[in-house]
């Protein structure tokens, strides 16, 4: 094998253009496929983010109020509405939720400070407002402390922000604020002049959004015991009994309209289960993963086909020389390994340049699109894939070359 490298290199010098083109194609393919794989992996990781919600059984109703209601009327209507929802046969529990709901795609968040006079915030937390039924309705797991009591839940006007004295936080927020694990019973400030004391900690509660800002504060959420009496409307979350999601989703709007018809529940997307919610919030992630997947697959196929095409041409061009070599005693195996080695050499040159390009593109994307650094494992996988792809594509033309009969040497001279 080693014996052959020098003659191969000399022969390649006579095919500079073809060699250069294959190497270039391998380099560019490696650069793009590595980055595409990296994007796919990252996006798929987003898709599988856990929300903490019992997604199989929970759905959300977007309820817009119609007409002119006072804050007191809205508060009374919200309480009547959730009572009606809780009485439905297929429903386990229901609660109003404001500030958005987990994975909604955006909502209320507040800065958090440890002291009232602190200017620079310690961190940021998603804010949810709900009553004592919210934990059970979402299916959140309380890992420390207690749930809200009904006497702690009050109506709150939209222009009348009264920071509640008690709060339930997610484990991520608790650990961010009190890294020593002593969060329960401690207090903090969420843009108010009065503190909120942590009475409970839930294991996991996703923020409303999935943006860069949300990622920087991943999983940091808090719940205030309040019904937000928003004149615009409110969300209701409903947890169906196992297996009764579809029935509960059908019955819920009927129950609400029976309470009052002066409301708007969009017939198209006013009621959504978590499958739809998850689909919507991550649709650009899923789309990117699909697009990058398609492009990578087609790219590898085209590169392979290109190698097959050019190598076939070379084999065709060199039939006579191959015949001569065969006549002079070269075995079929020698010819086969000649073409495989030739491709391997071109491939190595290609992946060497491609590695530099791949890293360069990633670094550029880091600065331009706030992406993360790519792990070298992607490049490693890409290099192996492309070298194998090259060897695989060259196999058929090389086998054809190895079957060239020594007689060819005598033809057409």
């Amino acid at each position: 094998m080693n014996m052959q490298i020098k003659p191969i290199l000399i022969a390649l010098r006579r095919h500079k253009a073809g060699t250069f083109l294959i190497a270039l194609q391998i380099a560019l393919t490696l650069a793009i496929v590595c980055n595409a794989l990296f994007i796919i992996h990252q996006r798929l990781a987003n898709l599988s983010e856990r929300s903490g919600v019992d997604e199989a059984n929970v759905f959300v109703i977007q309820n817009q109020w119609a007409g002119d209601r006072t804050q007191q009327q809205i508060d009374a209507q919200m309480q009547a509405d959730v009572l009606a929802l809780r009485q439905l046969p297929g429903v386990r529990d229901a609660a109003p939720i404001s500030g958005g709901y987990p994975l909604r795609g955006g909502g209320w968040d507040n800065f958090v400070t440890m002291t009232p006079d602190q200017v620079k915030p310690t961190t940021d937390s998603a804010v949810y407002l709900g009553d004592e039924h919210l934990l059970d309705t979402l299916g959140l797991r309380l890992i420390a402390g207690r749930n809200f009591r009904s006497d702690e839940v009050h109506g709150m006007g939209t222009e009348q922000v009264i920071i509640p004295p008690v709060v339930i936080v997610s484990k991520a927020l608790a650990e961010r604020l009190f890294p020593d694990g002593s969060a329960l019973g401690k207090s903090f400030y969420a843009m108010g002049s009065t503190p909120s004391t942590i009475i409970g900690i839930v294991d996991l509660l996703h923020r409303q959004g999935a943006s860069q800002w949300d990622k920087a504060h991943a999983g940091q959420s808090l719940i205030w015991p309040a019904r937000l009496d928003d004149v615009a409307g409110t969300f209701y979350v409903v947890r169906a009994k196992p297996g009764q999601l579809a029935a509960a989703m059908r019955e819920a709007p009927k129950a609400l309209y029976a309470q009052s018809r002066m409301r708007i529940i969009d017939p198209k997307d006013g009621i959504q289960d978590y499958a739809e919610i998850r689909h919507r919030v991550f649709d650009s992630d899923r789309g990117m993963a699909i697009l990058m997947g398609i492009i990578s697959a087609v790219l590898l196929a085209i590169t392979a086909a290109g190698i097959v095409g050019l190598t076939s041409f070379w084999v065709g061009q060199r039939r006579k020389q191959i015949g001569v070599r065969r006549a002079l005693g070269a075995t079929r195996h020698d010819i086969l390994s000649y073409f495989l080695t030739e491709n391997l050499l071109i491939g190595i040159a290609g992946v060497a340049v491609g590695t530099v390009l791949a890293i360069g593109i990633n670094l550029w994307m880091v600065t331009r699109f706030e992406m993360d650094r790519m792990s070298m494992a992607y490049v490693g996988v890409g290099v192996i894939v492309l070298l194998l792809l090259g060897q695989g594509s060259v196999l058929a033309p090389a086998l054809r070359a190895s079957r060239v009969s020594p007689v060819e040497a005598t033809r057409s001279v």
Partner: protein, 436 residues
């Protein structure tokens, strides 16, 4: 001669069907990926108001200060106090404030359920400034703004739902329990991106249903249903407190016709902020911005990174397809070295060989373009799988995209053929004749 070379080219395509198919597919896939992602990029990166984008400006004032603002940049909207001051100063030719409102159209006629309606609270200048097209009637006047009239401009879609599409100017509709007089009905109007409201939207939303006077909305204490962003302590407990808070929720736009007017307005903003500092409301030096439409679209990064990344990756993919094509064309042309030798020996000039092979490449490009067109059509139809619905539905296959697809395919292939054709033209006739 061109027709003859074209015929030769087409005939040669049939000679090595596998190689040809490979090239056509490479060009087809490459151009289709680029064009599909470009159709999305084109839709999201366009200028929504080309003839006026350089005359419309959104002013920003830093009311949060260096410790709490967006890393040196003022917040992306105004608080009520600053917005009101800009409106009162009336320093531009036209000006409007705006924020998102949501109301319900009460049941009536054959509807027994209320209807959701999304709109904006705006000033009368909004309509001429943004060139809102009217089907019936018009916007309202500055006097109506001052009179805080219960006027409303509705969209053709809402007019269709409520009045069956007839001229409804002068009729009354009931929104959230209050009567409003219809003064105008717009034609379908939904600029994309929605440059005038990038604070509340990503730029892409369904068309608005109505526009009502800002002054009237404030009288009714209508809260913005869009974003509301605050700093420090949120201590307000009444509507009046809320209006005096540092929460930003109002967007302002001004129309300035020439550079002198822009400079004057900038100066006015600076001196307004300086006055606030003197008055003790701001504890920091003036920090103001005046973005025109395109600067604002750029600043708010309206083009989703996904759209840019996919366009770039698709273009990279196309480049690889072209590199592939260069290699294959080289193989295809050099395979016919003997034939070229004969033609050269019979008196064909290098130039003629060169032209012939470029035209042959052009036919490959054309075939690739046709395949690319079919794939692009499929891609644009299926773009909903790749992008969020609000963005995906903007992509469409129109005459210019069809033309561009074919043109790019042919040009790119001919460009890729320069080197292989050059090699073909430099085939030594003597050499080829000898060895045959």
């Amino acid at each position: 001669m061109f027709a003859y070379y074209l015929e030769l080219g087409l005939r040669s395509l049939r000679r090595n069907p596998a190689l040809t198919a490979l090239m056509v597919m490479a060009i087809g896939f490459g151009v289709a990926a680029s064009m599909t992602t470009y159709s999305v990029f084109r839709a999201v990166s366009g200028n929504p108001i080309p003839d006026k984008s350089a005359q419309l400006f959104t002013p920003l004032i830093d009311n949060w200060g260096p410790q709490q603002n967006n890393q040196g940049e003022p917040p992306d909207a105004l608080d009520y106090v600053d917005a009101t001051a800009l409106m009162r100063a009336h320093e531009a030719k036209r000006q409007t404030l705006l924020y998102q409102v949501q109301m319900s159209v009460m049941p009536g006629g054959n509807r027994d359920l209320p209807l959701a309606a999304n709109g904006y609270a705006v000033y009368g200048d909004f309509f001429p400034m943004f060139e809102v097209p009217f089907q019936y009637g018009s916007g309202w006047s500055t006097q109506d703004d001052k009179a805080r009239s219960a006027d409303v401009v509705i969209s053709d879609e809402l007019n269709q739902k409520l009045f069956g599409g007839v001229d409804s100017v002068g009729r009354t509709i009931n929104l959230n329990g209050h009567d409003y007089r219809v003064v105008g009905v717009t034609r379908h109007w939904n600029p994309k991106p929605r440059f005038f409201d990038l604070f509340n939207t990503g730029g892409f939303k369904d068309a608005s249903d109505f526009y009502m006077p800002y002054t009237r909305a404030l009288d009714l204490k209508m809260r913005s249903v869009g974003s509301n962003s605050c700093r420090g302590k949120i201590t307000y407990t009444t509507w009046e407190d809320f209006l005096q808070s540092n929460c930003v929720w109002v967007t302002a736009w001004v129309e300035l016709d020439n550079p002198a007017a822009v400079a004057r307005y900038r100066h006015f903003l600076e001196s307004y902020a300086a006055d606030q500092q003197k008055a003790g409301r701001f504890a920091w030096a003036p920090n103001v911005r005046l973005h025109d439409v395109m600067q604002w679209l750029d600043f708010r990064q309206v083009v989703p990174p996904e759209s840019r990344i996919s366009l770039l990756v698709a273009l990279g993919f196309f480049v690889i397809c072209l590199v592939n094509t260069i290699g294959l064309l080289l193989a295809k042309f050099m395979r016919r070295a003997g034939e070229i030798g004969v033609r050269r020996a019979l008196g064909a000039s290098r130039r003629e060989i060169y032209t012939q092979y470029l035209i042959e490449a052009g036919t490959v490009g054309l075939a690739g373009g046709v395949l690319g067109l079919l794939l692009t059509a499929a891609g644009v139809a299926g773009v909903g799988v790749l992008f969020p619905p609000q963005i995906a539905k903007l992509a469409h296959l129109d005459f210019s995209l069809v033309g561009l697809t074919l043109l790019v395919a042919i040009l790119a292939t001919v460009l890729a053929a320069f080197y292989p054709a050059w090699r073909a033209a430099h085939v030594q006739p003597a050499w080829q004749l000898k060895s045959n």
